[in-house]
């Protein structure tokens, strides 16, 4: 008998332009900042952790028959009468995988969460492209995209606009299956690299997905994106809650007591995720969408030793 009431949404600002001139200026500014922060540490322009042939000494190991004599460290032999081989870090392109959550839960918030996460992805991608690294942008929701056209692979600064166009074309829709998506990604990639997961992590098994990346020797960095409406909802009274991801409804009469309980539960979930990342030596940063995204990038560069 009741007519459906008007849906109150927190996505009113999604119509605003995703990448404008100001955004591009911000990207350039971030690049300068990054260079300053990483100056003296960069070598053409990134080092991988693979051992190989280069001028950069890495370590010694005992000689084994069949090893190349050229890498025997004779100085050590004269001092110890044991043969040791000199190991050098292998120089190669860094692979930066930006795994972008495009589920329905990202289609929410004020400021708009999906805009925010794409801007973050664009900024990280720009820094990668400017550093002559290979940047992959892999959107996912319930699963990974199957075709190559649904993800981006780029190298060099000239691919910036292609990257931006790609990001602009993405849509936040559908349910999340973070763990399955990350497991699929980890199993399908032969080239290891930096895996940056940008998501709200609204998947009870998200930690299993992160573990899958870790086990496959990816350097994992989790960017946990939340909106102010999620951390501190200002809702009271008789409400019908609509899940933007699943489309499910739930009637609830919200009181201050319930809100307190929600905040506590939400906070515990976020802290649990962070604690997991810290204990697993994964990079983690939590960003509220009401904070400027460039602050998040700078924080990542300074504190989290991101891209180092």
């Amino acid at each position: 008998m009741t007519a459906p009431s008007k849906l109150e949404s927190f996505r009113d600002d999604r119509a605003e332009p995703l990448f404008d001139d100001n955004f591009l200026e911000t990207l350039e500014y971030l690049h300068i900042i990054a260079r300053k922060i990483l100056s003296g540490q960069m070598k053409a322009e990134r080092r991988s952790r693979q051992k190989g042939v280069s001028v950069e000494f890495a370590d010694h190991r005992p000689y084994s028959p069949g090893d190349d004599f050229r890498f025997i460290d004779w100085n050590v032999f004269f001092r110890t009468d044991n043969l040791f081989l000199k190991l050098f870090e292998e120089e190669e392109d860094l692979y930066i995988y930006i795994l972008l959550d495009c589920s329905g839960s990202m289609d929410f918030g004020k400021p708009y969460k999906f805009h925010y996460i794409r801007r973050l992805a664009a900024a990280i991608g720009y820094l990668g492209l400017a550093g002559l690294d290979r940047v992959f942008i892999i959107p996912f929701s319930s699963a990974l995209p199957k075709g190559a056209a649904q993800m981006l692979s780029a190298r060099g600064k000239g691919k910036v606009f292609r990257m931006l166009d790609f990001l602009q074309g993405l849509k936040g829709t559908g349910p999340t299956n973070l763990s399955a998506s990350l497991r699929t990604f980890a199993g399908s990639r032969r080239k290891r690299g930096l895996a940056i997961v940008l998501s709200d992590f609204y998947d009870a098994n998200s930690m299993a997905g992160l573990n899958a990346l870790r086990y496959q020797k990816f350097e994992v960095f989790a960017i946990h994106c939340v909106s102010p409406q999620e951390t501190n909802p200002e809702l009271l009274g008789d409400l019908r809650l609509h899940d933007t991801e699943t489309g499910r409804f739930r009637d609830v009469t919200l009181t201050e007591t319930l809100l307190k309980r929600y905040r506590r539960t939400f906070g515990e979930y976020c802290e649990g995720l962070e604690k997991f990342c810290r204990s697993s030596e994964l990079g983690y940063v939590r960003c509220r969408t009401d904070r400027p995204f460039e602050e998040i990038i700078i924080q990542m560069l300074r504190k989290e030793r991101f891209l180092q």
Binding site: L7, E8, F108, R250, T255, L258, Y262
Partner: protein, 621 residues
């Protein structure tokens, strides 16, 4: 149970929309969230008992309906039976007698009584009605039965103590006349109880309480004070005073007597403990005026230390003697101090007779009976209705009415009369003295006129040589001239209500105009209504009249009450039962403090709070 505003019960109709709203599915505000993951987790814990939730919802509806019902009933103002609520009918009898002016340490007794009566009014409960009665010489209903504490308090503030006695027996008769009521009647007697116990009605619904005020008990006071001019000498007057000693010791009390504000005499009275002293004092006053008696006694009750009386100035009777050389009569009149005599010849009559109080005709009479008071000696007009029937030879005074004022102090036996006139019996004439069956002195009285006829010539008798003659003449002149008004010398009792005629009686100066204002002892002016002037005598002191700018002394009023001078308060209820059954005393009991609507609103507010709590704990799946 009845309702003061039954139309308010229509608000019960609000049940319908409330129930409809309850039955309709609640329309909720729809709000987007990014995930229900957290809400699911919270609400799973919250909704473990769904039946309890349903019960809460039902309880919420029930509370809302009760809330409406309570407010509707409150608006309708239900009125319950007095039996159920314990409501009372209260009668507050406030003693307004003179003894309530006794000064106690914390104020006068009346001020203390006022506080106690105000406490009773303040303590009225829901359904109680109270009547306020000021008990003076006459019980006055200061406020009829009312449930308005404010009105009762205002009425209480207006009650003032009088200077008279309180007649509680009349107040008890008032209780007897109260209409029947199912509620209990509580009678609060707020008094010092300094009076003899009076009979009080007894019934199962009638309860009494004595709210005693006062502690002081010692007093010396004037309990009687009166003045009167001596009949033989109008300028001399007697003062009668009685002073009572209500203390445990003999008292020596100085007494001052003041006439027209000036000290006339002073005495010292020795009064035994519990006794009285009476004194009759003789004083002289040429002009009359205000007479005061003051005793000096430092007791708690000052009102009875001062007594008042009004002594009217002596007034001469204007008498005309239409004479034919009756020297005996002329001398008798001329020597009377109370007579202003004018001797007229027959030629002057009737031209100058109107301004006289009495005209005496001797041996000559006009043809027609003139207006006004007249005395005819030996002859009288033919139209008087007293036809002569012949001569009366050597009559004797055989009978005379000794009680009549004209015959007062007369000894008429053995008076020798040579000759008289026998008259027919005439209607309207009263024989005051007779010789056997023949009247010698006759009196005819009407409202406008008094006529005295002497049927013999005193010149033909030895009466002028006797002491009875001038007394008889003086008596006759005073009686016909209107000076024999005994009331004139009396003071009206406190508590009396005086009409215009009463005022005129007390007016010592015979002016034609009535006073238009009466000035009370406290200088309060009471304008008189021309048609029916009434003056209540409540205060001791001198009352004066005001006619234009002329001030006229009217009368004095005195407490002069042995009862009121006994100021010792009673220790218990000064009432006695009329029958064998004892008087019931007031006891406590359950009573609602105010009207039920107040409690209904209170309960509604409490329910509203409960409903608020339920709402904030409610979670609907």
């Amino acid at each position: 149970m009845t309702f003061a505003l039954p139309t308010a019960l229509l608000f019960f109709g609000l049940f319908v929309p409330v129930i409809l709203l309850y039955l309709l599915k609640q329309r909720r505000r729809r709000v987007e969230v990014s995930t229900l993951m957290f809400w699911d987790k919270i609400l799973r814990d919250e909704q473990t008992v769904t039946s309890l939730t349903r019960l809460k919802k039902l309880l919420s509806l029930l509370l809302q309906l009760i809330f409406i019902a309570l407010l509707t009933l409150a608006l309708a103002r239900p009125l319950f039976s007095g039996k159920w609520t314990g409501a009372r009918r209260i009668v507050i009898l406030v003693d307004a007698s003179a003894s309530m002016l006794v000064q106690e340490s914390s104020g006068t007794r009346f001020e203390l009584a006022h506080k106690k009566a105000a406490d009773v009014v303040r303590g009225m409960s829901f359904g109680d009605t109270a009547m306020l009665v000021a008990v003076g010489a006459e019980p006055e209903i200061a406020h009829p039965f009312s449930d308005s504490r404010k009105d009762l308090k205002d009425a209480l503030d207006k009650i003032k103590p009088t200077h008279g006695e309180a007649d509680f027996s009349k107040a008890m008769r008032l209780l007897d006349e109260l209409p029947a009521d199912e509620r209990q009647t509580h009678v609060y007697l707020v008094s010092d109880g300094a009076f003899s116990p009076v009979s009080a009605p007894v019934s199962t619904n009638l309860h009494y309480a004595f709210l005693k005020v006062g502690e002081a008990s010692e007093n010396v006071g004037i309990t009687a004070f009166q003045v009167r001019p001596l009949p033989a000498s109008p300028r001399d007057f007697q003062v009668h005073i009685e002073v009572a000693n209500e203390t445990d010791k003999e008292q020596k009390v100085p007494l001052e007597l003041r006439i027209a504000g000036k000290l006339a005499d002073a005495y010292e009275l020795t009064i035994p403990s519990g006794g009285v002293v009476n004194r009759t004092l003789r004083q002289y006053s040429a002009d009359g005026g205000e007479v005061e008696a003051i005793i000096e006694s430092r007791d708690a009750f000052q009102l009875d230390n001062h007594a008042y009386a009004m002594l009217p100035p002596p007034r001469k009777t204007k008498v005309a003697l239409v004479d034919t050389n009756d020297l005996f009569l002329e001398r008798a009149l001329a020597t009377d101090e109370g007579v202003d005599l004018t001797v007229l010849g027959g030629d002057d009559f009737p031209r100058k007779t109107n301004k006289f109080d009495v005209v005496v005709f001797t041996r000559w009479a006009p043809e027609k009976t003139p207006e006004g008071n007249s005395i005819f000696v030996a002859t009288w007009p033919s139209d008087l209705g007293l036809p002569p029937k012949g001569a009366l030879e050597k009559p004797l005074f055989t009978d005379w009415d000794r009680e009549h004022p004209i015959n007062r102090h007369l000894a008429l036996q053995n008076v020798s009369i040579e000759k008289g006139v026998a008259v027919e019996k005439a209607s309207g004439f009263i024989p005051l003295a007779s010789s056997f069956n023949d009247p010698l002195v006759l009196l005819k009285e009407s409202e406008k006129q008094k006529v005295l006829v002497v049927t013999f010539d005193p010149g033909n008798s030895d009466l002028p040589l006797r002491i009875a003659f001038p007394i008889m003449i003086a008596n006759a002149i005073r009686y016909l001239g209107g000076l024999e008004h005994g009331e004139r010398w009396q003071n009206p009792p406190l508590g009396s209500i005086l009409s215009a005629r009463d005022l005129d009686k007390f007016n010592p100066i015979e002016t034609e105009s009535m006073p238009d204002t009466v000035i009370e002892p406290g200088e309060k002016r009471i304008p008189l209504n021309v048609t029916e002037p009434l003056v209540a005598v409540h205060y001791a002191g001198f009352y004066r009249g005001l006619s234009g700018t002329n001030e006229i002394p009217l009368f004095a009023a005195n407490l002069s009450s042995r009862t009121e001078s006994k100021i010792k308060p009673a220790e218990k209820l000064p009432l006695k039962a009329t029958g064998n059954a004892p008087l019931a005393e007031i006891k406590g009991g359950f009573r609602l403090g105010s009207e039920p609507w107040f409690f209904l609103v209170l309960v509604a507010m409490m329910l509203s709070t409960v409903e608020w709590g339920l709402f904030h704990r409610r979670v609907i799946e």
